[in-house]
Amino acid sequence: MADPAPPAVAPPRAPSFVEASLRVFDLTLGQMLWSRRTIFLALVVGAPVALAALFKALEAAGLAGIRVSGTRVAGPMVFGIFIWVLYLRFIIPVLGVFYGTSLIADEVEEKTITYLFTRPIARAAVLGGKYLAYLVCTVLVVLPSVVLVYLLMVPIRGGGMASSFPSLVIDLGLLGAGLAVYGAFFTLIGAWLKHPLITGLVFAFGWEPGVLMIPGYLRKFTIAYYLQALVPQGMPQEGVASLLQSVFRDVPSTWVCLLSLAVIGIGSLVVAGWVVEKREYVLEQ
């Protein structure tokens, strides 16, 4: 073995919070993109594309009648259904739960958290970097999937791509915002609670759909309430639940929605950072 190393040149200063977060982001992005979670991510965002391709093929072959409430409809309406039913109600929340609750929990379970928490950087910066990696990873995968679905579905039955383009831009923006806000909220859940997955699932698939059907102020304690208000396409009527939701739906203004989402997102991240700084993570022996 070689002799002890000569002293390295000491770094001039500790990395700032942002620098540290970016360095953690660098470290984490590769891990996240090439992990087995990516298989799940690919399946989840690939399914709408596959479904859209199937509908397109069937429509082109004259085999399927795409109809809503018994009426044959054009592509933009179908694209709207995809946005509502698949992306907004399922894909965005599930990715938020899946990644957000695991940002720190995965490192604790794998016992690699030790290496990150014994560096001269704030623990909150570690969380910040991992959250950024989650956001980039999911945005880079989900938004292209939406664009592909748009390209496949909108031209059906003479749907105008130029006229629907502004809606696509809004959809991309709101889905990106959804990923950011759900991710931030579930990051807080993951940093704070011992069983974040159950809590996350109950919130995303129990609390939110349930409360949105009930008139009153409770719906303001959901993320879906603000996101759904921003969707340019109309809400599809699939059954009693969505009928109730549409009857009792009140739509806040765009600014209220954006501000509320920002408050939820940034607030969740700030509190999550505080929790991570104060909490001790006991590794399984």
Partner: protein, 279 residues
Amino acid sequence: MPIHDQSYRRYAGAREQLGNAWLVIAGSGIRGIIRKRRFLGLLLFAWMPFFVRAIQIYLAANFPTMSMLAATAETFREFLEQQGLFVFLITVWVGAGLIANDKRVNALQIYLSKPLTRIEYVAGKLAILAVFLLLVTWVPAMLLLLLQMLFAGSFAFVRANLFLFPAITVFSLLQVLLASFTMLALSSLTKSSRYVGILYAGAVFFTDAVYGVVYSVTDNSSLSWMSFPANLRQLGDVVFRLRPRYETPWIVSLMVVAALIGVSMLVLERRVRGVEVVA
């Protein structure tokens, strides 16, 4: 003799017959889980609908003005469907780590180095989940039927709806077997229980969401077979002699459920091994 041997002594007691080891796995697993207070809280919460229904049955039986609350076969069907949420939560809570945790700490090798077959290991793990799921499905539903008799003070309802006994049993078993086998199969695929939980949740909600899109776009409920929960709902309607809510033939729904259980068994057969064979 005056000086006793302090060295290793062979076990001289009676031994259980081979084939009962699954009971040991099940027993220790169940004891481990019921020690957690939060889980007991969830179990208690899962019994709330039972208490609500029990009050409903009592009021209907004892107050003529409340007769519109009287139980029908559909009441029991609805009760079991509502318990589906707790079936999901308990499956994720209890089931996600059943095999995944053993894989993570390399305990699978230790288990299978004992005089214990893989079938016994899987049966033991299955029993852990099945016990808790039956506790929130079959047990409260049967108790409700019993309460119906007790509060009404007669066997009339039961005689008129004798099929409810097998119906409740069959539907509960369908719910429990489908949830247990699929969750156990997913748990055998990975070492992370969290990953298993999300995969299971994804499978359940994703298939429902995809069917939701397909139904919205085609107005055709004959494709409900693609949604796992929808298949169970369809079978539940048939078992309780109600009008099926989807156009899918019930035999197709049954085949999908059977196929899921079959595929899960295949996955368990491949994944539950003492060593991983790397080609």
